[in-house]
């Protein structure tokens, strides 16, 4: 059983504080959804956990299995078991998906150990079959000229291959039509299990029709202001974010 614990996290970019005291605990097997209006710090939370260099943690901590990861570089965090599914994945011209993933798998092997190419391709093809991805996909350059749906499926394939302890999925539904959304959600559902904790970041409730969360948190102005089960997402959908804002205003009055 693994845990990802975010404690009273404060994050700034330059002089601007974006995350203002956020606490959250995710355990293996759990799917948490963070919802909230745009500009409230949801994506910042995912990036800072993954180790993006532009953000500064000014207070608080992030613990993976009890140990702080804040001093670790992004690549070390990834090897420790964190995975960020990007909202806008980068294009890597000339680097095929197969070679890219191979380098990522190689990076997880002990120093001096070479990847077993046959076993690697066998596993890669098995994951692709599971996610219903055409094998021709592997020879394409990473994300280059991909449609929105293809980019997200590429992210899910990477997640499947790297078998993280925790996946932070940043607006995985953005830019997807309903068919693409369904395919991506099927992929995430196929990877769900007792060894994976998921943090789904989304603006819209519709993703949660396909990936049903165990916990739903509402984020507003840099903190979690409301938590509940999946019914909270439906309530939000019905009442809109203004409902949360009004409740907050009342509580602060």
């Amino acid at each position: 059983m693994s845990s990802l614990v975010i404690q009273d996290l404060h994050v700034s970019i330059g002089d601007k504080e974006i995350v203002k005291g956020l606490s959250l605990t995710i355990r293996s097997g759990e799917v948490h959804a963070i919802m909230g209006p745009n500009g409230t710090g949801k994506s910042t939370l995912a990036k800072v956990a993954a180790g993006h260099p532009d953000y500064t943690v000014t207070k608080g901590d992030i613990l993976l299995d009890g140990a702080s990861i804040l001093e670790k570089e992004a690549d070390e965090r990834a090897r420790a078991g964190l995975f960020l599914a990007f909202q806008y994945p980068s294009e890597i011209p000339g680097v095929s998906i197969a070679n890219f993933l191979r380098a990522a798998v190689q990076a997880r092997l002990p120093e001096g150990e070479e990847i077993d190419a046959t076993a690697y391709y066998k596993r890669l093809y098995a994951k692709m079959d599971m996610l219903k991805i055409d094998r021709k996909f592997t020879s394409r350059a990473v994300n280059e000229g991909f449609s929105g749906g293809e980019k997200k499926r590429c992210e899910i394939l990477q997640m499947a291959m790297l078998e993280p302890k925790f996946a932070l999925m940043d607006e995985t539904d953005s830019g997807l039509d309903i068919d693409a959304l369904r395919i991506v959600a099927e992929g995430v559902n196929a990877l769900r299990g007792p060894n994976l904790g998921v943090l789904l970041i989304t603006h819209y409730q519709r993703l949660l029709n396909y990936i049903v969360p165990d916990f739903v948190h509402v984020m507003y102005d840099g903190r979690i202001v409301k938590s509940g089960d999946k019914s909270l997402a439906l309530e939000l959908e019905a009442k809109g974010y203004d409902w949360v804002k009004k409740e907050l205003a009342l509580a602060n009055a």
């Binding site: 260099p53 980068s90 380098a103």
Partner: protein, 441 residues
């Protein structure tokens, strides 16, 4: 003429290559070499000794680190008795191994090669057995890219090299491998590869240059002469992997005749400072020269590449693509010129230098150029320098790939289109493997 009569800034410097050293070199050569060759060497020594070292105002040396160009402290090295590691993981039809300027081993691996008239031998043997062929082709083309002094030094001190002649209509299926090693601190070597591909012949030659120790200070002054006769197809792959303390000068000359095609790919990995000059002359209609280069520069390395594509006949084509990946504090210089002679109508010439900056401290200099005297031509040139986008870097890192593995991956991604131009998968893999060794250091 004494040195004092020259302005001090243009003084001729022979370094370790004094007149006495040259006499000793001549005395060390085997007896029976043709008199014209010895005369040419003497004339070359005179040209070398009287020519000044490059100075800052020489356009051909713009951006070069001139203070690194010292000829002091080198000497012809002793013979080598240990076996160099002469393998690049490809099947070959023949293999020549040179160590410290002398033939170390010669193997003809394809039993039909000699029966079909293909000559894979040393220059010394060729000078004795095929003197007219050698005389016509050896160092017969002008040095036009700035290194006349070093080309003369090469000719003066050349001991031995490779000679390959493929007769008319003969297709050599597997590559011919040439391995040239330098061994010992202070070793000066003068490798040479002369290839004459006869009419409608086809051959691939892989030319490897390496040191037996990565830290030895060495000097390599090499040259090659490639000739593709009417309808010939010649593929040349050069792999420069000298010691990281070496100073290297290499002058390559390619002559392409009617409907012939030469593809050359030079991989630059080694040396502290490496100057590479490449001249392609397209002499008859239908001639095509494809000039490719890949460089991985790291540490304080400097790679200085100068090219000239001369279109001397109508309906000729040249296509140059030089790619440099720069790490750490390395520097590269690319200076390229396309010359189209007045009657070379319908010339199709392309020249491109692309630099991938994997470090903020690296420096890439690019000087593309055109000189067109015909009016019905298609000439394109360009240079691009790109840095790694920080978001790209974060993306790679977020998958667990560290900076050095990311640099390697991005370099291979950057090189892919050049490597894909090789028609042999085996060669493609061998080049990838060699490039990979640089990232494993």
């Amino acid at each position: 003429m004494s040195a004092s009569t020259l302005p001090s800034s243009r003084s001729a410097t022979a370094g370790a290559f004094t007149a006495e050293a040259f006499q000793a070199h001549l005395a060390s050569l085997p007896a029976g070499l043709p008199a014209w060759w010895i005369e040419r060497k003497r004339a070359a020594y005179e040209r070398f000794a009287s020519a000044p070292m490059p100075v800052r105002t020489d356009e051909a040396w713009r951006f070069s680190n001139l203070s690194g160009l010292t000829l002091d402290g080198f000497a012809p090295p002793p013979s080598v008795t240990a076996t160099p590691q002469a393998s690049i993981g490809i099947r070959k039809s023949a293999r020549l191994v040179f160590a410290n300027g002398r033939l170390f081993s010669r193997e003809i691996l394809d039993p039909h090669l000699e029966a079909r008239g293909v000559i894979v031998d040393t220059l010394q043997q060729a000078l004795l057995r095929h003197p007219e062929l050698v005389r016509e082709h050896l160092l017969a083309q002008p040095s036009r890219l700035g290194s006349a002094k070093f080309s003369a030094l090469h000719e003066a001190f050349l001991v031995d090299g490779a000679f390959i002649h493929v007769p008319r209509g003969v297709e050599v299926e597997l590559p011919i491998g040439i391995f040239t090693y330098a061994s010992g601190t202070g070793a000066a070597v003068f490798p040479h590869t002369l290839i004459v591909a006869g009419e409608n012949s086809r051959v691939t030659v892989v030319d490897y240059f390496g040191s037996t120790n990565e830290q030895e200070v060495q000097l390599a002054v090499g040259a090659n002469d490639l000739y593709a006769s009417h309808g010939a197809q010649l593929t040349y792959v050069g792999k420069q992997d000298w010691s990281h303390q070496a100073l290297s000068f290499q002058s390559n000359s390619t002559v392409v005749r009617r409907d012939a095609r030469v593809q050359s790919l030079n991989l630059h990995l080694g040396a502290r400072q490496a100057r590479h000059e490449s001249l392609s002359q397209l002499q008859a209609p239908g001639a095509f020269s494809e000039m490719l280069a890949l460089t991985v520069a790291h540490d304080d390395q400097e790679f200085d590449q100068r090219t000239l594509q001369i279109h001397q006949a109508p309906n000729t084509k040249s296509d140059l693509l030089y790619k440099n990946a720069l790490l750490e504090r390395s520097r590269t210089i690319f200076s390229g010129l396309i010359i189209v002679d007045p009657d070379a109508q319908k010339t199709d010439a392309y020249q491109s230098n692309r630099n991938l900056m994997l470090s903020d401290d690296a420096e890439a200099n690019s000087l593309p150029g055109l000189e067109i005297q015909a009016n019905d031509v298609r000439c394109t040139h360009g240079a691009t320098t790109s840095r790694i986008d920080p978001e790209q870097e974060f993306y790679l890192q977020s998958r667990g790939i560290d900076k050095s593995a990311a640099d390697e991956l991005l370099t291979f991604g950057f090189f892919e289109d050049v490597l894909n131009r090789l028609s042999s998968d085996e060669l493609h893999v061998a080049l990838r493997n060699l490039i990979q060794t640089k990232f494993k250091r």
